[in-house]
Symmetry: C2
Subunit: 228 residues, 2 copies
DNA sequence: ATCTCTGGTGATCGATCGATAAACTGCGCC
DNA sequence: GGCGCAGTTTATCGATCGATCACCAGAGAT
């Protein structure tokens, strides 16, 4: 056998990229792959998506875990790039409008198959970054929303929201989040008008907050008991 | 080499079980394993949990996939065994009480690490059984709740709830569901009093439903589009 | 034209995966 | 008390996984 034949390489395309480009291409395609297959997705499948061979991955990342960490970083930090802090805090505009705009922008950022699946997969792994993100939502979004609500209702300011208030905000926030899960994870039919969904959810949240604020001032809430 | 030495077996315990017992033990332990590791969890790790060897699995299940299917069946069908249909429909009791009791019982059934994790893992796989469950929640729970709400508010009965109403119910339901996810998946601190959380969520849902019902009587809403 | 640096490949290793076949062992039955 | 079957193990296969190594090739500098 002539093993020395200079096999004229019929490679589809010799894709010679700069190190930075190749590296970020790895992260992008890895995000897509892991979003679909979970983090158990293979490095060979990933290389195939790039049109390169598998060992090349290890020129850019010491291990698969390091690649995964980069995927986390990118996914979790992406939605934070929108400056929604100011949207919520800008008291020159009506609270209702601010909340509506914030949730429209926020859900625009995270309601897509890729983000939601990576988020759920990493949540199931119980990673620190996931806990950090949940804490961030609590501190930077829900606490801020509650502060604005209290201000809007003319209530006394307090450094930290009560546990019940916070839970109210979480249930509201979670309800909206679950809309994205139903649409992009379960692929179930949903009310197509997302803005309308947010608007309706806001209606009942704000009404509920006012009710709770009122009842908290005059009478103590009677505990609910269920017998049966 | 004396390869025929009758090695007196020092097995910890010869656990000789009946076929039925062994089989259900496989399903139980597989549920625990897959809940923690995902369905990528290995058959050897599963066997180790049972204190048996790995090939034994294949005496009871043709393949790992068949075992997984049994896990699905068990997990998805378990919460259905409570007869919550009657709890919701029993009009001799106040609606508010019925809803409170239903959600307390329902969440007692599904708010645990095992159930929620299996549910999320299988949801990410996009299986038919998951779609079936979501459809079941819609038809058997949310639609029924809305029907009872309409009846309670003295509104005209309609065979199927409007898309906006359904979405309202979904956001409410999802908000409660997300409480379980936060507690058992993210292991984040939550308001410990689950009944109180349900009660508060119900307050704002019912108030929101009434508001929507009122506004629907005087002015017409724009038509809503549903997309699969 | 050649040297060199670096992006990229081919071959392969050890571990682990799901699955199979054959041997063994303990319990119930006659 | 020995037979037989059902429950279990030992050994092993082929595929696939992440990772490593030596080598190749193409673009820019000289």
């Amino acid at each position: 056998m002539n093993r020395k034949a200079p096999v004229k390489r019929a490679r589809a395309k010799q894709k010679r990229l700069s190190a930075d480009d190749r590296r970020s291409e790895f992260v992008i395609k890895a995000t897509e792959l892991f979003a679909e297959e979970g983090f158990g997705g293979g490095t060979r499948a990933l290389a195939r998506k790039l049109g390169v061979t598998q060992p090349l991955l290890y020129r850019y990342f010491p291990s698969k875990d390091d690649l995964i960490k980069e995927v986390y970083r990118k996914v979790y930090l992406e939605p934070l790039e929108i400056g929604w802090e100011k949207v919520l805090a800008d008291r020159s505009r009506p609270l209702r409008i601010r909340l509506q705009e914030f949730y429209e922008v926020y859900t625009d950022a995270i309601f897509n198959r890729k983000w939601l699946r990576i988020y759920l997969y990493s949540g199931l792994k119980g990673l620190d970054i996931n806990r950090w993100y949940v804490g961030m939502v609590k501190d930077k979004i829900l606490t801020r929303i509650l502060r604005e609500c209290r201000h809007d209702a003319g209530l006394a300011m307090q450094s930290r929201p009560s546990a019940a208030e916070l839970e109210l905000a979480w249930v509201f926030h979670g309800g909206i989040f679950y809309y994205g899960v139903r649409k992009y994870i379960y692929e179930a039919p949903v009310l197509e008008d997302k803005a309308r969904m947010i608007s309706d959810a806001l209606d009942i949240f704000l009404a509920g907050f006012e009710r709770m604020a009122e009842s908290a001032t005059d009478r103590r809430r009677a505990p609910i008991k269920i017998v049966g």
